[in-house]
Amino acid sequence: MPAIEFLSILRTLADYGVDHIVAGGVAAVLEGAPVNTFDLDLVHSTSPANIERLLPALAALDAYYRTQPERRLRPEASHLASPGHQLLVTRFGPLDLLGSIGRGHTYQDLLPRTVELAAGAGLRVRVLALEALIAIKEETAGEKDLAVLPILRRTLEEKNRGKIKKPWT
């Protein structure tokens, strides 16, 4: 497993103009929830134009399916156009590209429920808002989601109390 550099993955996708929303644990972290994760979940736009930009970005990241790493299978346009989940590994760590999340929420559906945040080194990223993250985890309610939901809910409460000034948002 290479050293994980989530920021480098996000930087590469930005360099290629890929439309995507940061979801999952990294979104929770960016929103201030003290949770841990080993992969980067992104909901990408499945529009043909975006997939045209996404393919060379994935090539630059040396992305292939981590389910059968020995075969180094690379995602194709038809895979990326589907609502399914592409579980990849890149030279900067694991990357899950999600055509949809929860009960079929796509990039377009989720766009109004996002915030833009500074992720470091001048990079701004679109992140699923904490409220939406909680709502979608409640929909799916897997064991992993149930474990993290109390932390997300309490983080949202603390944010809403407004005790912490957030000049960077």
Binding site: E31, A121, E157
Partner: protein, 89 residues
């Protein structure tokens, strides 16, 4: 009436009688100023009812998003390094 002042700061005569002044101008009463039935100011809770450590959340919220991401990367890579060193165990 006891009055404790932080060095270099003027007494806050218009604040709570007695007590001491912090940099934010908040005046905290000392115990000798309190009526016998008074309680010290309540500290914010450290845990939620469902057991979540709120101090960690407050600390993490005090960071910028970039600092949070860096903290996550450092944590994950630290764990991976330890895993690598213990491979086969």
């Amino acid at each position: 009436m006891a009055r404790i002042l932080i060095a270099g700061r003027k007494p806050a005569q218009d604040a709570v009688p007695g007590g001491f002044v912090l940099s934010a101008g908040i005046c905290y009463p000392t115990t000798s100023d309190m009526p016998s039935d008074a309680q010290p100011p309540l500290a914010p809770p450290v845990r939620s009812e469902d057991g979540v450590d709120l101090t960690l959340i407050r600390w993490f919220l005090s960071l910028t998003p970039a600092e949070r991401l860096e903290s996550l990367e450092n944590f994950v890579n630290g764990v991976l390094m330890i895993r690598g060193e213990n491979a086969g165990h």
